[in-house]
């Protein structure tokens, strides 16, 4: 998910025009049409869910079963499920350590760009300085720069600074890559906050730092939540940046994505372990997503989310 730049937000729904019963009534005139509708919708849901569910079921099956028959054959009792695949990948393939590495990489790589972007977004929204608009237009342009066009020079910079292979290298790189979207989103949101709030704070003698930490930041919590979830998922799911900047020499610092991607080629015939490995990498993002879906959707549907 390298380009979650849903800039130029489409019109966010006005709650007054959502009239669910009226919409649901549309097809009711023809009962046959309703049935076809349900069949298609449920069919699509199945196509989208079955791959993940199949993997999950396979991850709890013994190796011999995975090789011999499809996951669907195991739904019918007698059940023969096991944790053996999970135990194996956690013990043999260092996935436990890789999980911790992913956390160590992802948390600062989320906190730093969100905060740095909040400072900049606040300045772009509420301060005046020369070339402000030109700089911001340049940031909009940077939204789509492909990572590939930065890899070699950045790797050389990081190696020159002696930090390639370290977590710090990824924190800095992910901050750079995440900033254009973060600044864009925060500037648009903060720019929409009511002017009077900042004016009265200023009259009461509050400096910009106070106004930022006491007013702008707390009022921007919804957009910061969306942004943090995005950046968290982007970094957690990233393969390319970690593959290049950690590199093969510091394998003890690799995150889960790289370790699991390497397993695909190194496991050879024992591919059943991949099921458990893949599910371990998915577990945290899925939990985050399902718990905070509302913020995630809101972040996608607009840079200019209101309320």
């Amino acid at each position: 998910m390298t380009t979650l730049n849903a800039q130029a937000a489409p019109v966010v729904a006005d709650p007054r025009v959502i009239d669910a019963p009226a919409r649901a009534a549309v097809g009711r005139r023809r009962p046959g049409g309703r049935l076809v509708l349900h069949v298609i919708v449920i069919g699509l849901m199945l196509v989208w869910l079955v791959p993940t569910v199949g993997l999950l079921i396979n991850s709890f099956r013994p190796a011999s079963d995975v090789a011999a028959s499809g996951w669907w054959t195991s739904i019918i009792p007698p059940w023969d499920f096991t944790f053996a695949n999970y135990e194996h990948v956690l013990a043999q393939n260092n996935l436990g350590d890789a999980f911790i590495n992913s956390l160590f990489i992802t948390i600062p790589s989320t906190v730093i760009p969100v905060m740095v972007a909040a400072f900049a977004g606040y300045a772009f929204a509420w301060m005046d300085f020369p070339y402000k608009n030109a700089i911001f237009v340049a940031i909009v342009g940077l939204l789509v720069i492909p990572l590939q066009s930065t890899l070699i020079p950045v790797l050389r910079l990081l190696a020159g600074a002696g930090i390639s292979g370290e977590f710090l290298a990824l924190w800095l790189a992910h901050t750079g890559y995440g900033l254009p979207f973060a600044i864009y989103l925060l500037r648009n949101y903060m720019g929409g906050l009511p002017r009077e709030v900042f004016e009265s704070a200023s009259i009461d003698g509050a400096g910009p730092a106070t106004a930022f930490f006491r007013l702008a930041l707390p009022m921007s919590v919804p957009v910061i939540a969306s942004l943090a979830i995005f950046q968290f998922l982007f970094v957690w799911n990233d393969l390319l940046v970690a593959l290049i900047y950690i590199g093969p020499t510091r394998s003890e610092n690799l995150p889960m994505t790289v370790v699991v991607a390497n397993l695909v080629s190194s496991l050879g015939g024992e591919t059943h372990f991949l099921t458990a490995a893949a599910f371990l990498t998915m577990a945290l993002p899925l939990a985050v997503f399902l718990a905070l879906q509302r913020y995630f959707v809101r972040g996608i549907t607009g840079g200019a989310v209101k309320g």
């Binding site: 791959p51 720069i145 750079g176 393969l239 390319l240």
Partner: protein, 325 residues
């Protein structure tokens, strides 16, 4: 273990403290200045960290890559256009370029088409939130996990043996197949099998945005058309599609860029074999595996050039929005 605890402490407390400390400290410094200069200098302190990151990690490296693309394998001698001549003369890169074009066309069409269809269909059922969540879930997982999920979906056993892959089991029900989906070069099936993984992952993205746009269309307008005797297809063609066109355009450009940059699925599943290479993977391969930095940079620049028109579109759209604000 102790080292890990120290890292954890830095991660949880050190990093935020440094960032908040930066702003508080610079505010102190600014206060020491004469009052009329404070307002002029303050914004630069607030945007300085962001600008530094953008210059170091995006602007400088992109310019440097352009320079490297005119240098040789080890970036020591100037070789002119040699790397680009290699790019447009090498059958491997040209195949990767063709496949990237396939990704752009079919992933974008698939994601936007299915996203629009699903947005319109789920709008008419009571379990809309549930249906949307189901379509949306793949967007939260990594390309690596998605590639493994589909590795098992596309699993192939010779004809006559029980199929363990879901796709071959299903086509077997209607008497077709089995096919080795990600290795079968005929009719570019392997490419389409890989592209479908991208479609599966990103359809939820298009659906969510298009659904929000759809709910912005007034129900009265739609009902008025239906009362006047328009059928559902006419309502779609005459009202929904024209009103959603700008949104479709926004979603489409995002997917085009995603398709151009997508590298993980191919890297994990075929590593470019069986005629499935794409330019985003080719770049990483030339850099990481071959270590020919001239070739790698040239591939990166071709990718960048393909994306520049969309950058220009983004900027134009942003300017238009600002004009309305």
């Amino acid at each position: 273990m102790e080292e890990r605890l120290i890292t954890a402490a830095i991660v949880l407390f050190g990093v935020p403290a440094v960032l908040v400390g930066y702003i508080l400290l610079t505010e102190r410094l600014i206060r020491a200045l004469p009052e009329r200069r404070q307002g002029r200098i303050r914004p630069w302190f607030w945007i300085a960290p962001a600008l530094a990151f953008l210059v170091v990690f995006l602007i400088y490296p992109t310019i440097n890559t352009l320079v490297l693309s005119f240098l040789d394998k080890a970036s020591t001698n100037f070789v002119g256009l040699e790397n680009y001549i290699w790019f447009f003369g090498d059958s491997g890169t040209l195949e990767a370029l063709r496949n990237s074009v396939l990704w752009v066309i079919f992933m974008t069409a698939g994601v936007v088409g299915l996203g629009l269809l699903i947005a319109i269909l789920v709008d008419r059922v009571r379990y809309e939130p549930l249906a949307k969540t189901a379509i949306f879930i793949p967007l939260a997982i990594s390309f690596v996990a998605a590639a493994i999920i589909w590795k098992f979906m596309y699993e192939f056993r010779p004809p006559g043996v029980e199929q363990t892959g879901t796709v071959n089991a299903v086509v077997g029900l209607v008497g077709l197949g089995p096919l080795d989906w990600i290795r079968d070069r005929s009719f570019l099936i392997d490419n389409f099998a890989l592209i479908f993984i991208g479609v599966w992952m990103w359809t939820g993205f298009a659906m969510v945005i298009l659904s929000a746009g759809l709910k912005g269309i007034s129900t009265e307008l739609l009902e008025a058309a239906r009362v006047d005797g328009a059928n559902e297809w006419q309502v779609f063609r005459g009202i929904i599609l024209p009103l959603l066109t700008p949104t479709i355009f926004v979603v489409g450009t995002t997917i085009v860029i995603t398709a151009l940059k997508s590298f993980d699925i191919v890297w994990v599943l075929t590593n470019g074999a069986f005629g499935t290479d794409v330019i985003a993977r080719k770049m990483v391969f030339e850099m990481f595996t071959v270590q020919h930095f001239g070739h790698a940079s040239a591939v990166a620049i071709v990718l960048l050039v393909a994306i520049i028109p969309f950058m220009a579109l983004n900027i134009r759209r942003f300017r238009e929005q600002e004009a309305i604000r």
